[in-house]
Subunit: 648 residues, 2 copies
């Protein structure tokens, strides 16, 4: 509870000067309050509950809050308008949490399948010669005289040609404007930074720096996820990755999923705002990386980013609206490089940003990057590459062909559309076991904190356990006949009580409801149906798949057994499954090191066939069949059947 | 005399709201007052006299104002600081005058030599195939479907390749950002504007417009003079020049000549200000041209400008300071094209601006343009090309070789450094005859207005007549022994009274002083010495020159006889002399129509040899010898000798 003149933010009391209080007058609390909203401010997710401690707000009626919560002063931030000075408290379950600690939850061991080893990656990187998109060339110019009176730029051209064989290049206007001063201040000893060209562009002078900085040649690989953004600082001379940082994508404040953000982008200034938010996140990562490594930001001269098609459009400030309207057409799948300054990134003034090419509105550059980084594009084995996230993107194929699709899986695995769902941050339940005899749960949380909610891997665990112990049936309905005290009905909806209020970190019960089960079954059904539709298109059985690459932050923590138990994945043999880790970031890293890798990424994106599932009748059939645990066709899951019968 | 709260501007009373009065508080009047200053605000030319009608200013002592003027409230605007509300009157001689009428003084017939005829120009233009730097291509795209789901940009690429064979091109980010909306609003029928590339750059998409605008393809040729800016709107489909406009270069407010502007550019924000001023002048011309022709400004997709090296640096916002410091090195002689938006020009959002290449700090793109437009570069005849202006740039040569130089001639021909000098605007004395018997003058003014001062051609006339009539001797000293009432001494300086106060438009006497004669002799001597130094370098006599091209606005009104009489030019036979007109604008026009002309301009600039005169001992000798009327070596001017003896 805060005294007047104070506002609770995500973690602690923040003392606000009176001016700040005035500043939020008339704004939605939401703009200044919790970032953890899933519906983009529509009032439909109920995740942005705040408690009014002082002052008044105008709020819309909502069914997302209990009578007790309402009585205690709770409102949904997103649908409340501040009418004067207020003090609000942001309850713990509406907080984003300590994001850094958790994005790096490397402590958890991968228990199933195997990750790509450093050796695998080394092999792959070795395939591509070191040939970054930029070069930094030191030149010492003879100072001009009355006899040798070439102009500064032409003098620089002459010396670059003499010393490095670089003759023809275009020039950034900003470089030219101050060239005279730079050359003279540097006593005619300068490092010229040039892009090497490609994609219809010739080489271009993008920077002039004093002295010899040719060995200080850095690039940034970026993975722009809908939820998280990762950045890795790469030494373009040694290939070495110097440091890696991650942060939640600040766009989350305008909506949790792609569709909500596309809608937000159509609003006034929405696109510019979304662009600024993700650029801000990347700038934060850059700040941390340069602090950590003592690399100067002006020596970061090229960025390669990978992201899904919507993320790339928003990052580049390109209207994304037609991505979500049939026939789902992006503005661009092969975005031309742009100056980092255009995007508001704080690196070298002339630095360029390239995004990996994508295939379609829902199979983006992140998939291209993953297929590149995991080596699927050159594998002889038939491979399924799958990125289990909000969008459920996947590709099937090998060095000969690639077939891709995306099945809008929904945000269940990332904590959305689940009553007590949350992201994989501190306090999230990530592992659940249920005693088959007592039907009592055992839980493990991230960071061993008091449980606040349940994240994707915990949810899969919980549902698998509920199913194996017979607490729920194949349709995801609770067996209320068991008469267990943890089974109850709240507001007419059946649920299983996972954590009692006294034990929880929120002071409220944490439960899994039948509505949550419905959502999860739809999500897992979509992914499974995607896999089966790709196979069906090629008239191939599941067994034809020789290896399975699972990518994405969430994929890393997926327990294969449990995923198969709920029918999220077919019964893949454990030895076929590998965890790629952040395939998107790895692909960006490769493209940063090698123009040949960039070419290859282009070939992957161009050659890949895309299957639009939203209008595919086969997909609909597969989807409906998959809305059971593990599946309507239980013969497809013999080992699960065995386990179920063993458990009962 | 103005009532309180009013400020006199160049012509009329301007009523200023009180806010404006407050706004100028603490500023120099000069910033808001007369633009016609020659010294750039140093207080040394005395041209910005204003009369304080109300209020107070802090002003520095000056020797440029008479005691009467001081008593009447006169101050120099440039060295006065406003300390409160004021009302000032700008006297007529400090006014810029009606500039438009005069810049286009086409009424005056050229009496000596001959101008390039339309046929000459047609021949020249015909040499170059129509091949502008941009193309506008209409395409109709098949709308996307689920089957044909190429992204917008890739769809556009496909259709441009299919319909026009244009496959590879880079893309302006601004084009991409709104491509989706543009294509759909235009119902998939659009005109793509592309640059064709060159100079190390490939083709580039710079615009997308609705419907078929392929025939609305316009460019702008611009001549950026130190004094005047000319712009011509060209139809790039028909080659036709649709309209031409001119205006004084607004940079004049920061100084009259190149050196003063370079100094101004080194001051805080000076460069940005000078860039903005010339861009503003060009925008004014664009406004007039689009109004006059009903061409839409968004259909002006390319600009080609020619100007001296300093003008190009300032226009592009490139630091010019080293142009004036030995060894006189510009930042660039071959400036890469830049987006018009970068320069603040109001044309098509993606339009590009190219400046013609120059050879050195004082032989710029205007000379390249003139050599291109006048055909010197392909002439078999030995040609002297000369641009008589502040900088006295010239080139000697033919299709085999070109030798160029610049002799800082000074602003005498443009009204500077002459007591009653002024530019060739309304009221300027442009012709002078002196009766050899009575020694009384007859004058003609531009626009037949009351005389306000004397412009360049009038000055040459006056000095020639003074010399022919024996009023001055070969050293430019008055023959006071004549005892003529118009010959007098004012403040110890001898002068010839040209117009009495009662007849003048300023209410003051207009005279030619011995100091003016000194200045003029230095100016004409520098130009003559430049010509002789070029010839000397090639060990050629004057007679070797087979044709003389005189360029520049002033050159057009030069009377050959009089110019020879004062020894500005050697005794060229009349039939050798041609007036090119605005060679700089013509060259820009050519480059706008033809990429081959652009190549040729590059070859001219590259192949031309530059002679730095400021350190050339031969030039100094020639200069000293030329500080007489017509010359120390009178045998070089036999016809002048004849005329002098005839007159006496």
């Amino acid at each position: 509870m805060g005294p007047a003149g104070e506002l609770f933010d995500g973690k602690d009391l923040v003392k606000l000067p009176e001016a700040e209080m005035v500043k939020i007058r008339g704004n939605r609390i939401y703009e200044n309050g919790p970032a953890d909203v899933y519906c983009g401010g529509a009032g439909s997710c109920g995740k942005c509950r705040v408690v009014l401690e002082r002052g008044q707000v105008a709020t819309e009626p909502t069914g997302k809050l209990t009578e007790e919560q309402l009585a205690a002063g709770s409102v949904l931030a997103c649908t409340s308008t501040v009418t004067g000075d207020v003090a609000v408290r942001v309850p713990v379950e509406s907080q984003l949490g300590d994001t850094r600690a958790v994005l790096a939850r490397e402590h958890r061991t991968v228990t199933h399948g195997s990750a790509l080893t450093p050796k695998d990656l080394g092999d792959l990187f070795g395939d591509f010669e070191l040939d970054p998109p930029t070069q930094r060339l030191f030149v010492e110019l003879p100072p001009p005289t009355l006899e040798d009176n070439l102009a500064d730029l032409e003098r620089l051209r002459r010396e670059l040609a003499r010393a490095h064989g670089v003759a023809e290049f275009s020039v950034d206007h900003a470089c030219l404007a101050q060239l005279a001063r730079h050359l003279r201040q540097a006593d005619w000893k300068v490092t010229a930074t040039l892009t090497r060209g490609g994609d219809g562009e010739g080489p271009r002078l993008i920077g002039i720096d004093s002295g010899d900085r040719s060995a200080k040649h850095y690039g940034l690989a970026v993975d722009i996820g809908t939820t998280s953004v990762w950045a890795e600082l790469i030494d373009l001379t040694t290939r070495q990755a110097l440091a890696r940082e991650s942060e939640y994508n600040s766009q989350i404040s305008l909506g949790d999923d792609i569709i909500t953000r596309i809608v937000a982008a159509t609003k006034k200034d929405g696109l510019a705002r979304l662009q600024g938010l993700v650029a801000g996140t990347i700038n934060t990562l850059i700040d941390r990386l340069v602090e950590k490594t003592a690399v100067e930001r002006d020596d970061i001269v090229y960025l390669v980013a990978a992201g899904n098609t919507t993320m790339v459009h928003l990052f580049f400030g390109i209207e994304p609206r037609h991505i979500r309207e049939e026939p789902y057409i992006p503005t661009v799948n092969f975005p031309p490089a742009v100056p980092a300054a255009t995007l508001g990134l704080r690196v070298a003034p002339g630095a360029r940003v390239l995004c990996l090419p994508g295939r379609a509105s829902y199979v983006g550059g992140d998939i291209t990057a993953g297929l590149l980084a995991s080596g699927v594009f050159r594998s002889e084995k038939l491979t399924l590459y799958i990125d289990i996230g909000t969008n459920g993107e996947m590709a099937l194929g090998n060095r000969e062909w690639l077939l891709s699709c995306a099945c809008s899986a929904g945000p269940a695995f990332e904590g959305g559309s689940v009553k007590h769902g949350m992201r994989a941050v501190l306090g999230a339940i990530e592992t659940v076991r249920i005693d088959p005899d007592t039907l009592e749960p055992m839980i493990v949380t991230i960071g061993q904190k008091r449980p606040k909610g349940i994240c994707g891997s915990g949810l899969i665990d919980a549902v698998a356990e509920l199913f194996l112990t017979g607490i729920i049936n194949e349709r995801g309905k609770f067996n209320m006949d068991l008469g267990h005290p943890r089974l109850r009905s709240v507001g007419g909806i059946a649920e299983y009580l996972l954590v009692q209020a006294e034990q929880s970190g929120t002071g409220a019960d944490i439960a899994i409801t039948e509505a949550d089960l419905d959502n999860l079954i739809r999500t897992k059904g979509a992914i499974y149906a995607g896999i089966m539709t790709l196979l069906g298109q090629m008239e191939m059985p599941v067994e034809a798949i020789e290896q399975v690459y699972i990518a994405g932050g969430f994929g890393r923590y997926l327990e294969l057994d449990q995923a198969i138990t709920i029918g999220l994945l077919p019964e893949f043999a454990e030895e076929k499954v590998k965890y790629v880790g952040n395939g998107s970031l790895l692909g960006a890293h490769l493209v940063l090191l090698s123009r040949a890798a960039r070419e290859t990424a282009g070939e992957i994106a161009r050659s890949m066939t895309y299957l639009e599932l939203s209008t595919n009748p086969g997909f609909m059939d597969n989807y409906v069949s998959a809305l059971f645990l593990p599946h309507t066709d239980q013969h497809a899951f013999p080992s699960v059947l065995q386990r179920v019968s063993r458990a009962h």
